[in-house]
């Protein structure tokens, strides 16, 4: 986030800014120096245990930038000493002249300086400190809480289109921040959120706190504390760059140094104006909670229920017999790819979404298009609430192409642009696609994405370098969707062939799988009885999403089993009874 207090900075007689972007700080300086990105420069760093890594650049600076080391070296009178020399000279001093070259080479090669971890320090907890209660609000009324934004942090990533378009966990908002408040407070204020074809419309509220005022769109978050409003930092930047300027509101304008993270005495007022937000999953999942439960989309049980009936997930729906199709079944003599996603493990962190976007050259489409429901991400995290609005359980469900065995999309495509491969993949043939969108209409999972415009930026040079050369860049009027990272499958197949050996289980990792911190995603060959994915699919928790439609999805889910601490209060207020996911007899149709 650029420094935004000109008065203080302007007193400095000479102001030089070294940065990646010509941002708000650069604007107030006499000089701006183009900084080399971390991936373009030599450096060194310490890990959490003190181990030293020598940081190597991945690429020569694209725009002739200089790293901080190089600039400091210049100031210290070393002329234009290159970053490599600076780091190397530094370590020459530390390693000593004795076999320096060997040690340096090894450190660079290994990525870590052997034995550089710092000794452990014994620490003791100051007695009684950890039971100190959180600071109480000074006066009753509303409290404001400031939080780093879940995708762009404190604002430093505001110019990153992938992160801007990444739906924020829980709220599923993109491209801006909002005043997050509880359903009860929203009802008290008379805030109405509704969905329209051009986005989610909501009330613009005015927040008054400690003498400052800010107009922010309100957004209702089930489970939010009632008398509190959360505002994410990092938005409202004037000069973040081509992507990030002028989005959202600047929460720093309300923040005070005497209460950096929260403070009491907030006043909130409905302005009567409306705002449009780009939300990838509208609030219907709140309104139509019973629909979610009746359809058994997310299956979950607590430990006791699971122990009583480990097959609870499979018993929730009936799968039609496998031969119930007009068309002959596919046969797989070689591999047959499949995937499982463990809902017990998924924390809804979104890493898979960005990994997929990066791997598969998925374009960023902007707020207006997202608001119209045209976001392009191939994997999304569906969020469902369960059990009342005050303190619901939250469920995350990553949804990507299911690569159905009876794929509804394949039958309806008039030009055979989406076809079944002999390894069970549901392939998209981009140059065959004419764009009728029939496949998307007929896809019950709605995982297909359409290039309504020419979303890809063909001209910006840096974006050309960003793209994955193994993945086709799609043009206007073409449907696209998850391919199970077919390029990775093919690469692994080629490697195996070159080494004259069969493909090994686990050798192919899809992009989403490889970044999942919880290891929730497992991909592999379901024809191989010993593969991990086959093992996962034989779990009693394994179920197919909407499998009652006879789509026979290859991506299946492992139902979530939760183990809540019985000593923790489960619920407060109405709706306290935990709505079992097996509910299906509710009055709502």
């Amino acid at each position: 986030m650029g420094f935004d207090r000109p008065a203080a900075l302007d007193q400095v007689p000479l102001r030089i800014h070294l940065g990646l972007y010509q941002d708000e700080t650069a604007e107030r300086c006499h000089w701006h120096l183009a900084e080399a990105h971390g991936l373009e420069s030599w450096s060194d760093a310490r890990a959490f245990d003190g181990s030293v890594s020598i940081v190597q650049p991945l690429i020569a600076p694209l725009y002739g930038g200089k790293s901080a080391h190089e600039v400091l070296a210049a100031f210290l009178g070393f002329g234009d000493r290159a970053g490599y020399q600076v780091v190397r000279e530094h370590w020459k001093g530390l390693f000593g002249a004795d076999d320096f070259e060997g040690r340096w080479q090894r450190a660079v090669h290994d990525g870590v300086v052997a034995g550089s971890a710092l000794p452990e320090k014994p620490v003791t907890l100051a007695s009684g400190d950890w039971v100190r209660p959180a600071r109480q609000a000074r006066n009753p009324g509303l409290e404001i809480a400031f939080r780093a934004d879940p995708t762009i942090g404190d604002g430093r990533f505001a110019n990153n289109g992938w992160l801007q378009e990444l739906p924020k966990p829980l709220t599923k908002l993109t491209w801006e921040n909002a005043a997050l408040l509880s359903p009860r407070l929203a009802a008290r204020l008379g805030i109405a959120v509704s969905s329209t074809a051009s986005g989610a419309t909501t009330d613009l509220v005015e927040l008054r706190y400690a003498g400052n005022a800010l107009k922010v769109p309100a957004w209702i978050v089930p489970g939010h504390p009632e008398d509190s409003v959360t505002l994410h930092l990092g938005y409202g930047r004037r000069k973040a760059g081509r992507v990030g300027s002028g989005l959202g509101v600047n929460a720093y304008a309300l923040r005070r140094s005497d209460g950096l993270w929260f403070g009491a005495g907030l006043e909130i007022r409905k302005t009567g104006e409306r705002a449009i937000l780009a939300c990838t999953q509208d609030h219907w999942t709140i309104e139509h909670e019973t629909q979610t439960t009746k359809r058994h989309l997310v299956r979950s049980a607590d430990l006791a229920e699971f122990e009583r009936n480990p097959h609870f997930a499979r018993e929730m729906s009936e799968e039609p017999p496998a031969d119930l199709s007009m068309y002959p079944a596919h046969t797989y003599r070689g591999h047959a790819w499949g995937m499982t996603i463990d809902l017990s493990a998924c924390v809804g962190c979104n890493a898979c979404v960005v990994a997929c976007q990066s791997e598969n050259n998925i374009p960023v489409v902007g707020k207006d298009q997202v608001a119209r429901g045209r976001e392009m991400q191939w994997i999304r995290i569906d969020r469902y609430y369960q059990g009342g609005l005050d303190n619901p359980e939250t469920h995350h469900q990553p949804v990507l192409c299911m690569h159905c065995e009876n794929a509804p999309c394949e039958v309806v495509c008039p030009v055979a642009a989406t076809v079944h491969s002999d390894e069970g993949l549901n392939d998209m043939v981009y140059n065959r696609c004419v764009g009728t969108r029939y496949c998307s209409n007929n896809c019950p999972y709605k995982v297909r994405r359409f290039n309504f415009f020419l979303y890809q930026d063909w001209d910006t040079p840096s974006l050309k370098l960003m793209r994955n050369p193994d993945v086709t860049v799609r043009s206007r009027g073409v449907m696209e969707k998850c391919t199970y990272c077919v390029q990775r499958i093919n690469q692994a197949r080629i490697d195996a062939k070159n080494q004259d050996r069969p493909l090994r289980d686990g050798e192919i990792e899809t992009a989403c799988q490889s970044v999942c911190p919880a290891r929730a995603i497992v991909f592999g060959d379901v024809n191989d009885p010993k593969s991990r994915v086959t093992g996962q699919k034989s779990s009693p928790r394994n179920y197919g999403l909407l499998a009652d439609l006879n789509t026979r999805p290859r991506t299946s889910y492992l139902a979530s089993v939760r183990n809540p601490n019985p000593d923790m209060p489960r619920e407060a207020g109405p709706g306290a009874a935990r709505a079992s996911l097996e509910l299906g007899s509710g009055p709502d149709v």
């Binding site: 119209r372 509804p408 039958v411 055979a416 065959r432 764009g435 209409n441 206007r476």
Partner: protein, 465 residues
């Protein structure tokens, strides 16, 4: 003739009194051959042509910017494009029904309306054809891949897809309708050729008449060809909209996946088609003073067909709702509840008002024979049928299986421009048609003149009077 022939029933005549062979030719032929283009025609044409320019705007924008200028999105992948396609195709059904089925059933009252109803069919199909071609946003690719042609890649279209069936159904229908219409025009073209004083028109109509001299042999061949074409066209009346309904019925989307769709769509098409014929016939007969040819009998008959098919359509709505409940299927039940009470409930209830309540007013003879009322009902029915397609397409898609993927839809200004543009295209073509070709079949009208024994059952007309 069976006794159930409506010609035998009491009622208004199908031809005004006092006409001779000459007056029929003059009255109908002069509309075309007059040198002075009527002011009203010029004004109407100017408006229609102006509306057509909206289509130009919409298409240019679509081709250069992309399909995103329309309101379609994920999950509502089809919007105005397919709504309007089905709407126009439905309207296009009346022409062939009147020409072919009523011909085979020897309903002679069809003779004064079949020509312009057939023309209307062609123009409606042209408007409909606009959508499947352009709704991909890249018609140059669509036209290339959708048609089956032998190629070195050995690639054929996917014959399992209803959209491919659509390509065949609609193109066959357009071809047969055009042939049928043209064959019916040949004797009249010859009449115009003989009647016109202009050298140029003589050549033009003469070429159109294909050397028609009116010999017995010509008449014999003509009658055979016309009957054969009628036989060919008859199954098409049923098949085209059946295939169009398959676009939905074979899908698994709740609200689409229903076996009632084919008959329900065909009835809806005839219903919409007759409404459009009435919408065109009423101003046409008034402006060109053709009350003797398009009599109250015709209007009333059309109103009756409209009411009967309207009741079938209403039955379709009832069965849809019943099956949603009877199936016990969560998705179907929610779909129906969402249609009736969801964000598009207004559309649904307007549809019920237009298509269920309104046609039932035609039970009353006083209303049925009031021309302004009939005109109004015809317009209401057209709106209702548009709403029906909106409800089927949009409300089914916008909330399907996964609540996390639900969405909302609204047409953009370019959607409206394209839609109004096709109305402009339709009217432009219709204005041109009534100016250059006889809107009522002259020679067929002559067969129902008193004393004329031609065309099978000419005497029946006299009997009826």
């Amino acid at each position: 003739m069976s006794s159930a022939n409506p010609m035998d029933l009491p009622g208004a005549p199908i031809l005004g009194p006092g006409h001779t062979l000459g007056t029929v030719t003059d009255k109908i032929g002069d509309v075309v051959l007059t040198r002075k283009t009527p002011r009203g025609w010029l004004g109407g044409f100017a408006i229609a042509f102006g509306l057509l320019q909206l289509m130009l705007l919409a298409v240019v924008n679509l081709l250069f910017v992309g399909i995103g200028v329309w309101g379609v999105t994920i999950p509502i992948g089809w919007g105005f494009d397919i709504i309007n396609f089905v709407w126009w195709i439905g309207i296009g059904h009346a022409g062939t029904l009147i020409s072919a089925i009523l011909l085979l059933m020897r309903q002679e009252w069809r003779m004064s309306i079949n020509r312009f109803a057939e023309a209307m069919t062609l123009f409606a199909v042209a408007c409909a054809a606009f959508y499947p071609i352009f709704h991909t946003g890249r018609p140059w690719v669509a036209a290339y891949w959708l048609l089956p042609y032998p190629n070195t890649m050995g690639l054929w279209p996917n014959f399992r897809s209803p959209l491919i069936w659509d390509v065949f159904a609609v193109s066959t229908y357009a071809t047969v309708s055009a042939l049928f219409w043209y064959v019916g025009l040949i004797p009249d073209m010859a009449t115009l050729r003989d009647k016109t004083g202009s050298r140029l028109l003589k050549v033009v109509y003469g070429m159109g008449a294909l050397g028609w001299r009116g010999s017995i042999r010509h008449w014999h061949n003509y009658e055979t060809a016309y009957l054969l074409l009628a036989g060919l066209a008859t199954p098409l009346v049923v098949s085209v909209h059946t295939v169009v309904s398959f676009d939905f019925a074979t899908g698994l989307v709740p609200g689409w996946h229903a076996t009632i769709f084919p008959p329900y769509f065909v009835a809806g098409a005839v219903y919409a088609g007759f409404a459009m014929v009435l919408t065109l016939a009423i101003p046409l007969r008034w402006y060109y003073r053709l009350q003797d040819f398009i009599t109250m009998r015709h209007l009333e008959n059309m109103a009756k067909v409209m009411m009967a098919t309207g009741l079938v359509v209403a039955y379709g709505y009832v069965i849809e709702a019943f099956m949603a409940w009877y199936s016990g299927n969560t998705y179907e039940m929610f779909m129906m509840k969402n249609r009736m009470t969801g964000p598009y409930a207004v559309m649904y209830w307007c549809l019920i008002l237009c298509n269920v309540v309104t046609p039932n007013l035609l039970w009353f003879k006083r209303l049925r024979t009031s021309i302004p009322f009939l005109f109004l009902v015809a317009l209401v029915v057209s709106v209702g049928m548009w709403l029906e397609r909106f409800v089927i397409i949009v409300t089914s898609l916008h909330r399907d299986f996964l609540p996390a993927s639900w969405g909302m839809y609204a047409g953009t200004k370019y959607d409206w421009a394209a839609f109004i543009g096709t109305i402009g295209l339709f009217l432009t073509l219709f204005f041109l048609f009534v100016r250059v070709l006889p809107a009522i079949s002259m020679f067929e009208m002559k067969t129902i003149l008193p004393g004329s024994g031609a065309h099978g059952s000419g005497g029946e007309a006299e009997k009826a009077r």
